[in-house]
Every structure is written in C-alpha cells, then in structure tokens.
Symmetry: C2
Subunit: 477 residues, 2 copies
C-alpha cells in the first residue's frame, strides 16, 4: 500500500502552533529573521509580477527606453499604523472636498481676488489667471465638470489630530502605485499575517485606479459623442490639433512652468496658446482652469481664513438642493477648525511673519504653486522672510506660511534596490476623490482610494516631505 | 459658444483613409519606420506592464534577487505565419497524444524493454528505470494520473508537412511566456493591425496557464484531502519531508542529472532517494516515473517504429470504452506517417548509421534525455558515429538519430534589450495539453495553449534549436 507523502518546515509548524510568541504590532525586532527574509523575497517577487516597477537610474537607458533597466519600487514592507477613526474621517471628507472644489471653482471673482497679489509676483500663476479671466469675459460655462482630486493628511503627534496638508486638483498622481501597494500588503498579510499578528482586512481596500477610469468613462458618456477621443496631455511635445473630436482633456502635465517651454520662441505655437484653446473648447477639462486655480496653495490659504468658507456660494446657495444635506454644517465645521487645512497664512499678515522670524522652527514657507520639494525651513526661512521685508516688493505673494506639523513616527522595514533596512518613518496619507456632474446632476462624488508616502524621519524637515521615496499603505488601529 | 476641440495625427488619418497602401503580409520593409518605432515602443511598455520580463544578465544580482535588474523578454514583434490547417491538426492531436502518453505509461514492460540498452549507457536513465522497476515490483497503481505535456512541431519546407519534433512530459515550460506573448501580439494587432493588414483574431487564443492551474486544482480535488498541499519540486535544495500531507508533487525540476547533485555524498540523503519516496507515496505525481520515461527520445523513437503504436494496449483495449471514439484510427494514422514523430532511428539500425555517415547533413544525432542544446550535426555527427562503431560499446544506446528537418523561414522583427533588428527566422511551435483521470474516469483531456520559439535562421543548425532566445506566436494563414 502506498504511504502518504508529507512535508513540513519551520514555517508550517509555526502556523499550526498557536502558542508560539507573536511579535507585538509593528515591532519588527521581534520578527524572526528567516521569516522576514521570506517576506522581503515575496514582496520582490510580487512587485515584479504586478509591475510595481520603476526605471533604475543606475541603468543608462532606463529613463528613455521602456522595458529595460527595471527595478522594484522602493517600498515599505508592511503597512503603517493609522487610527481607524481618523481614517474614516479623512475618507468621509473626500466627497465634501470634491464638492467644495467645485463650488469654489464657480466663484471666478473670489479666485481672481485671492490670487491678485500672487499674479504680480509669479508669471506662471499670472498666465493661468489670464486664461481664467478670458473665460470669465466670454462667460464660458462648463456644464460637465469632473475632478480627480487628492487631499493629503498627516496626524499631528502632540494633538493627535488629523491635519490636511494640501489638496491637489491637477495631475493627481500615485493612484496606481497606491492600489498596487494595497495589493502587495494585503497579499503579504494574507500569507504571513498570522505570524505577525496582523490581519490583511485591516489594510483598507483601494479603488483609486478603477474609480478614476470610471470617472473618465462616465464623463466621456456625458459628452455624448461616440466618435470623440480622450486627450491626455503629457510631459512630451504633442501638438496635433485638428480632425478628431475630443471629449475630455486630461492634464497629466501642465501644472509647472516646465510644461510650457516654447513661449520664448513664439506665442502662436506655444503651450499656453494650446492651453487656452483647450479651455475655450467644449471638451471636458480635467481639471478646468478654475479647478486648477482652486488647487493653488494661496487659494487654500484664503479658504482657511475665518469666515471665507461660509461665504456665498460655497456653502449656502438659496433655493438649490445639494446631494449632501449636511454639507453646509460640515464645511462650517471645517472653517471652525475641527478639521482644516493646517494653519496657513499669507505673508501680508505681518504678525505671523514676525512670529515666523522669531520662531522659524514652527513654520514652513512654501511656493504657492504645485509640485513639492521647494519648501523653506529653519534659518533659511528666517533669512528669506527678512530679505522679502527689506525688498518691500510684491515677491512675498509667491509664498505662503504654514504651521509646521510634527507627525508621529513609526518603525518600518524599507526595501530598496532588493535590500532592506529598518528605521523610523513619518507618513503622509493621500485620499483620492472623484467627482463628475452635468449641470445640476451629480453623477459621481466619492472617496475612491488612497496612497501613502513615507520618509525616514531622521532626514525629515517638516511640512510637505521633499523627495518622498518609499510608498506604504495604512493598517487601521 | 464653445468650439469643439479636435485632434489629428498622421496615424489617425491613415486609419480613416482606406486607400492608403497596406504592407503585404509580414513584409516589414514596407512598414512605415515611424509606425514601426511606435509598435516597438508599445511592445516594450506592454511587456513591462504585464511582466513579460527576465533578469538582465548584465546586472550582477539579477539572477539571485527578484525585483532588480529586470529587462523585457527577447521577443518577436509580430506573429509568424502558420497554415491554419496544420495548426488545427496540431491542436486536435493534443488530446490524442495526452491519451497516448497515458496508455504507454501503463505498459511497464514496453518501457523497460525500450530503454534496456540505454540503461547500460546512461546512468541517469538507469536511475529512473530502477525507480520504475521498483514500482512494477510492488505493483504500484496510480489511480489518479495527470499530465501537462507539450508537443513541439515544425513545418518541413519541402513537403509542407507538419512534423512533430518531440513530446515533453516533465517540467513542460513556456506556458506563461506563451500566454503573455499571445496577449502582447493580440494587443499590438488590435491597435496597429489595420495599418499592417493583420487581424488580431488570427492569433489563436491561449489558455495554457489557466488550464495548467485548473488541472492542478482538479487533481487536488480528486485527491480529496482538504488539508493536503501541492509540492513543487524546483531547482534549489528543499528537503523537508514530514508533517504536512501532499496531494500533488509537481516536478518543475528533476529532468536532468544536475537536479540530483548530492548522490556522491550519501545516497540516504540524496535527491534520488527523495524521488523514490515521492514515487512510492500516494501523492499524485506530475509526472509519474512512467510518464517521465514516455518522454524520453528513445521511447518516442520506439513508438515511431512501424507496428509499435498498434500494439496492445496503446490503441486497442478490448471491452473498454474510451472518451475518444476515433482514437484507434488516429493513432493508426500516426503510425503510418500521415503525421508522426519526424523519422527517428536507433543506432542499432546499421543501415541508417551507414546512411548518416555518408550524408550527415540529412540527420541530427540527439542524446535521448530531456533538455536540448546537445545535438550533434554535420561532420561532428559523422565522426561521432565512426568513433562509436569503432568502440563497439553500448554507448550508442544513449543517442538516437533523427531526420534533419529544414523548416520554412519567415521575416521577423526581433526586439532584444530595447533594440530591434530584422532577420529571417525559423520557428518551433509547442502545443500544450493537459490530462487528468481517476481510474476509468477522464476528467480533463484537452489542448490548452501554445508557445512559439524562434531563432535567426542564419545560425540555425537543424533539429531541436539550440539556445532559442526569442519568443513569438503564430498568425494563421
């Protein structure tokens, strides 16, 4: 008679032995090193199979030729802890912020006034405002409006409160990476969670990619021209402009002066002229020039001023029914600081400027445009403020001041270039929202997913983290 | 009023202009170079997104650390032409060959006799036969038998006939790569087929991966122990052998002497002892030792002898009903050369040996074990035959002689390391079959998918192609 064939290993026995010691939550020191190596190995295999890959900078052609010099994305091996109540709060706010962006975008005068001083100091914002002004002049109406936005949050360690860092309304990235990371962490915890005392279901589901695609598809349907294409504006020269109808212009680029390089040659052929043409057209813009302007830090700083959120028409539009019955109350809550943009100030506010010169460690100074990495901290912040005061020009309007947040840190295992290291990191969690309306009909307004970026805390300088290099997800606690 | 936004490009216009010249089938010289570059670019992007990737040998750690040093698989940009009638024939033969493998595997005496001379000349085959003999001795019955097999074919240019090169019964690889390539070519033709005069539906569907997984899953069900695992034997030392029940042993390794390295140290701990233990166990083996032996070239050469296929019990088993009613007739057809293993001969056949010494260019000499790359051609073949004749030993039993096939060539665009080149290639198409039975009940017996390997014909030496480097699919003509 044949004997049954059997197999065991340390891992299998550990799984069946419930009395074996479990590491306490996120205490990677107590994880068996052999087990840890298996998890790292599997994370690398998963990343390869699921295209969680980037071009390896050390390989010469990796940036220009696809399919060569690929390496897994730098990643955090396990999800970072995040209080469930704060997570719920952030998710519930997504549709509120979607709606807020839309309402603010309709108030052309507010946008022009908020950015009037910035216009003088910043050529790029000035160009955007010119296009916006032209649309106001011709009374351009956008019946179909769609937003793919992302609000970024940190948890302040001292107050344990959820603070919004910023809201992104153009070229909101990391949706795909966020979804892939969720897939990786859920997969790892499904297999190894029992040894780590972690449950894969505590990593929230993530639909950011599917929901973004659905929003584009539904917007295309609303446009109601089966022959119309979707134009994706990317950071490579592409200027073919007649023949094929366009239903949606999706801006994956256009948020930085670098994306408008040819103006010096000829305005007639410039990217600014193309942007104006797109804005004038009947195509759906994701985002419109107005949505784009709402995403400037200056406008967000204005919105954080007492009383601004409460002004007509952001929260009270008489005689109109809104899908969110509690929207007014919620926004009033935002304004009164229950949850808010972490405190933001204009450099016109001389009291705050004085305070920042005295205690620069409590502030971050940011250019009001999109794209992080240009923040000013510490002694540089003090010197820059003094220089701006001395010059007495309008240049200060290109910046805002922001309360510096000191987020909680957590231990993490960081995997980069096939190697792993441990360290304490801070994280910024971004919640995606998608929005689509046609006139009074709201077709989509939801929270769609998330992404988390971490950075080793020792090199952290505060505010929006420059050069985030490692992605993560959250584990609800 | 807003104007519609429109876009065109040379590509879009070409699509709508039906009068534009289309390149004739597979004549890549007539393909617009800009279009070709776009197709190559998209093939590289698709490969990255869908994990059609391998480790780049030029990156040091790529072979040992997953997720680093990845590069797209060398690939043929477009499918190669293949006559539809031959393709159908090859696909229809898959379940016939599945069944044939199973029936031959049941004739222990035939396997031992066919390989009796080889046993003396080849230590590896001798080991396999020892295990097989032990199973015959204890009258070991395998009620549940499963096969994942692959038959490889070429089309002979002169006769335009489909010729089977060999049949693989252990560790049949390239199922995943075959499916991915089908996905790539169908995707490229969906997008660019109209410019090339090619229809993506002419690239046959490919389910090799799903069907293999399904066969494993169904075999696991038949084993009927919900706690039993599937053991995959791979080419790394793994020897943990008590505790967890095993339902299926899948051999991804074990087909070459290199996979049994430790015998010289101690037989008690050797891989051969593990193989024997697996074979003795009640676990389902994919393949059994008998299936493995059926896959040897010597047995296939014996099967190609006139009258052998017709012997009991391969085609006539009195009083039994078979799922394939026309099986007997088909196998008789195989035997009479309508389609057959391309002519195979033992080195005992002195007439053929004489002929091969006189005209070595018409023959290929092959070791009868698995794993290509060791074939002997031309003057080397003549010298080896003369040496063997002189020695007069049993060493000639380790080889078979095979009619050298001269397959048709076709023009191809070969993409490697992000660059592309053109050239004429020859191709070998492999048709996968999966098979599962439990006693008299056939649960699965199908053709499941395919893979195509090509090689630039200028370096082609005939027979099984050494060092296939570029994968392809077929385009039915």
């Amino acid at each position: 008679m044949s004997q049954p064939l059997t197999l065991s290993s340390a891992v299998v026995q550990e799984a069946e032995d419930d009395s074996s010691p479990k590491p306490s939550l996120f205490d990677y020191h107590s994880i068996d090193q052999k087990l840890l190596q298996n998890i790292v190995y599997d994370s690398l295999v998963w990343s390869t199979l699921n295209c969680l890959l980037v071009g390896d900078k050390s390989v010469q052609r990796s940036g220009t030729v696809p399919g060569v010099g690929l390496v897994h994305l730098p990643l955090s091996l396990l999800p970072g802890p995040f209080p469930e109540s704060h997570w719920k709060q952030a998710c519930e706010l997504a549709p509120i912020f979607n709606e807020l962006v839309d309402r603010v975008s309709l108030d052309g005068q507010f946008l022009q006034e908020s950015l009037s001083r910035t216009k003088k100091a910043d050529e790029f914002t000035s160009r955007l405002l010119d296009i916006h002004a032209k649309m106001l002049q011709i009374n351009k109406k956008e019946d179909i409006r769609m937003g793919i936005v992302r609000s970024d949050y940190m948890i302040d360690e001292k107050t344990k409160s959820l603070l919004q860092i910023e809201m992104n309304t153009i070229s909101t990235s990391f949706a795909l990476i966020g979804c892939l990371m969720t897939g990786l962490h859920r997969s790892l915890l499904s297999q190894y969670g029992k040894f780590l005392g972690l449950d894969s279901n505590r990593v929230p589901a993530n639909n950011a990619v599917d929901q973004s695609a659905e929003a584009l598809a539904k917007a295309w349907s609303e446009f109601n021209n089966p022959r119309a294409a979707i134009l994706v504006v990317v950071q490579v020269e592409e200027r073919n402009m007649d023949g094929q109808a366009i239903s949606i212009v999706y801006f994956r680029a256009g948020y930085t002066p670098k994306d408008y390089p040819s103006e010096s040659v000829s305005y007639m052929n410039s990217e600014w002229r193309a942007r104006l043409m797109m804005e004038q057209s009947s195509a759906i813009k994701c985002p419109t020039i107005s949505y784009h302007l709402v995403g400037t830090k200056k406008v967000q700083q204005e919105l954080a001023k007492p009383g601004v959120l409460e002004r007509t028409p952001f929260i009270r539009e008489s005689g109109k029914a809104w899908d969110h019955g509690d929207f007014d109350e919620t926004v009033e809550g935002l304004g009164s600081g229950v949850i808010s943009y972490s405190s933001l100030w204009s450099l016109e506010d001389s009291d705050i400027v004085k305070k920042a010169i005295e205690s620069p460690e409590l502030f971050v100074m940011k250019p009001q445009r999109e794209g992080g990495g240009n923040n000013i901290y510490g002694d540089d912040l003090r010197k820059t403020l003094l220089k701006l005061q001395e010059a007495g020009s309008e240049e200060d309007a290109a910046y805002i001041l922001m309360q510096r947040i000191f987020p909680a840190t957590y231990p993490a295992i960081l995997v980069r270039d096939g190697n792993w290291n441990t360290g304490h990191v801070i994280a910024e969690a971004g919640i995606f929202g998608t929005y689509l309306r046609n006139k009074d009909k709201i077709i989509i307004n939801n929270e769609s997913g998330y992404m988390v970026r971490t950075k080793v805390s020792t090199s952290y300088e505060g505010g929006v983290l420059p050069g985030f290099g490692v992605v993560d997800t959250v584990y609800l606690t």
